[in-house]
């Protein structure tokens, strides 16, 4: 009986030793390759899924090792993607619409957040601007080629005005408030967090107009036109984002804290914007239609030098999303 036990113990030991040996020798072969990536992330709470993914190590479980290049605004992120400085970037649908007119070789892989109140119209209290009609002839600051400029143009058009009817000043997003302080402009259209910062800084001097719901903005993952390897990398980035999305849904308090720490924001600000944001991965026809309509708008209102709207389908690459979340893809194949 003892001999039998000893034999079995020895056989088990040999099997376990062999398994351990194989595991340690071939572990590297089983693991996915880790692609080092640089992502240009816009320094806005809209990029929360990226910050959360990084903070909770969501990318560690995928095939990419990610580094962030933090930039101000989706337009700069776009520029860095096109110059090859970074592999991926985060841009709003407005930026995509404006850039699609330039026929640059880029694609959108996924939409990860949307807000219906990110860009706000802020006017000087003393300027007595109560309606859009009152904007006529005023000096207004926008960031060229972004949601800021697009939103202004639509607001004006509602009252039959165009950008010709106002004095348009182009600023970098973080410079908009300086133009206002220097009294170069009476109104400006910043996005968050600059809207909140301006409201804090100029409390009492300004009026923040109620425009919630008039302009839905989305933030998207973009890259240069993707080959198979880039699609594979995009897939892994989206996998990391998907994990982050689940975390945001189940741990909103912790997620807010992560963004506050990363962007040095106050709890007050996060509470100000958080309810406007919907963090959700998707690639819908509505995004395509939105980009297309904004591009048509830009051409029609002569906001751009280009006058031909290309086929927007070229700028959508659903391959990565189809691998990660096929349910969330709803575009004509």
């Amino acid at each position: 009986m003892i001999n039998k036990n000893v034999t079995w113990s020895l056989i088990s030991l040999v099997i376990f030793s062999s398994a351990a040996w194989f595991y340690f020798n071939f572990e590297s072969h089983w693991q996915q390759p880790k692609y080092p990536l640089m992502i240009a992330v816009s320094k806005t709470p809209l990029s929360t899924p990226f910050y959360v993914a990084k903070a909770i190590g969501a990318f560690d479980e995928t095939c990419v090792s990610v580094k962030f290049d933090e930039v101000v605004g989706g337009q700069r992120a776009f520029a860095k993607v096109m110059s090859g400085e970074v592999d991926f970037g985060t841009s709003s649908d407005s930026v995509i619409a404006f850039q699609s007119l330039t026929n640059k070789a880029f694609v959108t892989h996924a939409m990860f957040v949307q807000s219906d109140n990110d860009v706000k119209l802020i006017t000087r209290g003393s300027a007595k601007i109560n309606s859009t009609m009152d904007l006529k002839g005023k000096e207004i600051g926008v960031t060229h080629g972004t949601a800021s400029e697009y939103f202004l143009s639509t607001l004006l058009a509602l009252e039959g005005l165009t950008t010709e009817d106002v004095e348009l000043y182009h600023y970098k997003p973080e410079q908009l408030v300086n133009g206002f302080i220097n009294k170069d402009i009476d109104a400006f259209l910043p996005w968050e967090p600059f809207g909140f910062q301006s409201a804090q800084l100029l409390n009492g001097q300004i009026k923040v107009h109620e425009t919630k719901g008039l302009n839905t903005l989305s933030f998207n993952l973009i890259s240069v036109t993707a080959d198979n390897l880039l699609v594979e990398k995009a897939k892994c980035v989206i996998q990391g984002l998907s994990i982050a999305m689940d975390y945001i849904a189940s741990h909103p308090r912790e997620s807010k804290q992560i963004v506050m720490d990363e962007l040095k924001l106050t709890a007050e600000f996060i509470d100000w914007v958080w309810s406007d944001y919907i963090f959700k991965l998707g690639l819908n026809q509505s995004l395509m239609l939105s980009v297309e309509s904004q591009a048509i708008w830009a051409v029609a209102t002569q906001m751009t030098q280009f006058n031909e709207v290309p086929n927007i389908e070229r700028f959508i690459d659903s391959r990565a999303m189809l691998q990660v979340m096929p349910n969330a893809v709803n575009i004509p194949q």
Binding site: Q114, G160, G213, T216, M245, A249, S286, S290, S293, N330
Partner: protein, 427 residues
């Protein structure tokens, strides 16, 4: 741990019941999960339908026309809003989509109110077209979210059914294995224990009282074994076993055989033993053409000794003669009492000369060893007749008869002497 068979069956049944309840529970849970997933799917499809209706209302008519009836739109929009408020229980992921749907719906309502505010009388055609496109985009966004919700619900249905199928297969497989194992174990215990009890009975039958040693313990068979072992113990105490009985019978038979072939006084062979042995030696000598010699010894004046010293001394004297003879013959020779004071010695592989020599040795030894009684030495002599097997002897009686004749010749010729028949050539 000693568990009874009944307990085993009880636990076994309990285990089966537990597995069955587990299976039943999982089926109920799954049906509820599937029902919930179906209700979510239904909800998503209703949303899609309402959105499609709204899309048709926007696409087919000119919404900026002063005659455009917004009542149709409003009634559908109210239904959509009410529907959004009566969502079934959703998962965290689905709640995010639900939030998106509600937010998109609010944007949709804001946009529609904006469009219908004075029908945008100051606005250009471009912005009107653009806003209509935005309205469609908003509706498309709601539709996309509804489709996403529906796809998740459908996947949930598929996953739940798949999970349930795997669970049912696994639980069934485990149940069947457990049933087989349980049945096999029970059968094996009962069969082995019954065999062991049967073997014990068989062993017992042959008179060997062995205790039952059960390889599997169960309360029922242990109690049978205990009762059997107690019975065995009592039986073995009160009964002589067959083996012992055989041994005793063999011993007694051997003793009886010895007694039936031994002369009770002198302890040498009696007539029966003499004829048995002598016949055997006669046959062997005839068969192998070997030699065979008989000595017939008779005590001289034995009657006188008996009369003078009594029968007891006579008996002692006979014993003494046998003792002397026994010392002087070979191991293969056979001494027997022929009758009264007559003895016969069978000498296999021995001729006349050998017989004479043996007879001489006996006479000499007897002459040297007298028997003492009441301080007197009494010496006796023997008349010895010798016969050797020859062609004329057809049977043992003839050979004995020759020895007898020779012995009478010795008596006639003066006693204490040796006579041979037939007379050898050397005389």
């Amino acid at each position: 741990m000693n568990i009874s068979l009944l307990q085993r069956i009880f636990f076994f049944t309990l285990g089966c019941c537990f597995l069955f309840i587990l299976l039943l529970g999982s089926v109920i849970w799954s049906s509820q999960a599937i029902e919930l997933a179906f209700s979510r799917n239904h909800y998503a499809q209703q949303l899609t339908n309402q959105t499609n209706t709204l899309k048709q209302l926007v696409a087919n008519d000119n919404i900026y026309d002063s005659h455009y009836s917004i009542n149709d739109w409003r009634s559908v929009e109210v239904k959509l809003t009410a529907l959004l408020k009566s969502s079934p229980h959703l998962t965290e992921q689905q709640k995010t989509i639900q939030n998106s749907l509600q937010s998109q719906n609010e944007s949709l309502k804001s946009l529609f109110i904006l469009i219908n505010k004075n029908k945008l009388k100051n606005a250009s055609e471009i912005i009107k077209k653009h806003l209509k496109a935005k309205l469609m985009i908003q509706l498309e966004a709601i539709r996309s979210d509804a489709l996403h919700l529906s796809a998740i619900a459908q996947k949930d249905i598929y996953d739940t059914i798949k999970k349930q199928a795997i669970l049912i297969i696994s639980v069934s497989a485990v149940s069947i294995l457990a049933l087989l194992f349980g049945a096999f174990t029970l059968t094996s215990i009962v069969r082995k224990s019954l065999n062991e009890v049967k073997r014990a009975f068989e062993t017992n039958h042959s008179g060997d009282y062995q205790n039952i040693q059960l390889s599997h313990h169960s309360q029922e068979f242990d109690s049978i074994a205990e009762a059997f072992n107690i019975m065995n113990e009592k039986l073995s105490e009160s009964t002589v076993s067959l083996t012992e009985m055989k041994k005793i019978v063999e011993e007694r038979t051997h003793v009886l055989e010895q007694l039936s072939k031994t002369d009770p006084l002198t302890k040498v062979g009696n007539r029966r033993a003499l004829f048995e042995r002598a016949n055997m030696e006669f046959s062997r000598a005839m068969r192998s053409k070997s030699k065979l010699t008989l000595l017939l010894l008779d005590c001289d004046f034995f009657k006188n000794v008996n009369d003078e010293f009594g029968h007891l001394f006579g008996d002692e004297l006979l014993i003494h003669i046998c003792s002397i003879c026994g010392q002087e013959i070979r191991d293969i020779d056979f001494l027997a009492r022929y009758g009264g004071e007559e003895f016969i010695i069978v000498l296999p592989n021995c001729d006349i000369a050998g017989g004479i020599e043996t007879a001489n040795r006996i006479q000499n030894s007897l002459a040297r060893h007298c028997v003492a009684i009441e301080g007197k030495k009494v010496c006796v002599t023997l008349s010895i007749g010798i016969s050797m097997l020859s062609e004329r002897h057809k049977n043992l009686d003839q050979l004995i008869n020759d020895a007898d004749k020779a012995m009478y010749l010795a008596k006639e010729n003066g006693r204490n002497r040796i006579e041979v028949l037939p007379a050898p050539n050397l005389h």
